[in-house]
Symmetry: C5
Subunit: 85 residues, 5 copies
């Protein structure tokens, strides 16, 4: 998983079945200074009710679940990051 | 998923069975300025009727579905991108 | 797998079901000099009881196991690294 | 999938069972100028009868099929690339 | 798959079940000049009896096999590399 911050959202009416009803958010990977890294922005399905500016955990990889696809997803909202301890 | 723009198409008569009948498009990843990023062009199967210059959602990863391969695919056409909100 | 060092931990109360009860650690990939590499920090589920500053083996990729997701994980604690022999 | 060009071949007598009988080719990813990109060379199993200098479609990712592994593969021979249209 | 060279080995007593009994080798990806590339070293399970300095084929990705994980693995020992032919 990567640490990321929610930086926006995406509207896509025409989409494949596995994305129907999904909330699609822009997420940007965080560097070691916890600032967004240039050109590392992805689109992820929100599974946890995240909002813009939240720090989140993002599964970078696509997977199958019970014979259905699951796209890249936000799987947690980060409350605290303890670095170096 | 990544944001990309459709930048062309590919003709390949000789191909593996899982690609037969697929529409193969060139897609180039978008940077944070929503401009194409150099040397990040892929070939994706179109699942949603996308055309050249459309902004699209692309699943970067290959997967199996019901015991069949599914190649990298365009899974949505993007109508609006809200950055920073 | 990659060699990494544990560089911190993450608290996330709101998270998807597959992460419930998991210990989430920050891990930073090691370069050839066995020093952490800038901006290559991930969040991994600890499977082996690792602690901060431990050298660890990390599976970079997400997978399904017995119809359940398994997130990026720490799968070993490294005791010795023999380079060039 | 990526666009690549076949740049050589590899001989490996001692190999795992899933590769037995495979034709292993060196493939190098193409940049936006359709020239090979430095240090982006892979080894792929040929599924379509490709030869050196052919432009090909390569699935970058490893997958399971009917309980058998399938290694990175050449899945199409490219005849034409239409850029920007 | 990538071409790599075996550059060392790793000792990890405390490890997850799927790695038990595995021989863990350090492998470094080779560039187009067939020299190791800086900071592209991984840990792979040896499936073919490889030794230090051998040129090997490495599956970069993690997969499931018969409901068991299979970590990144060395899947072949390379005897000859024919570039450009």
């Amino acid at each position: 998983m990567i640490l990321a911050t929610v930086t926006g959202r995406v509207v896509a009416t025409q989409k494949s079945d596995e994305l129907r009803g999904s909330n699609l958010l822009l997420v940007t990977a965080l560097g070691d200074d916890l600032e967004p890294v240039k050109d590392r922005t992805y689109v992820a399905v929100d599974c946890v009710g995240a909002g813009v500016n939240d720090h989140v955990l993002v599964e970078e990889y696509f997977a199958l679940h019970k014979q259905q696809y699951k796209a890249m997803s936000i799987v947690g909202i980060v409350e605290k990051i303890h670095q170096g301890r």
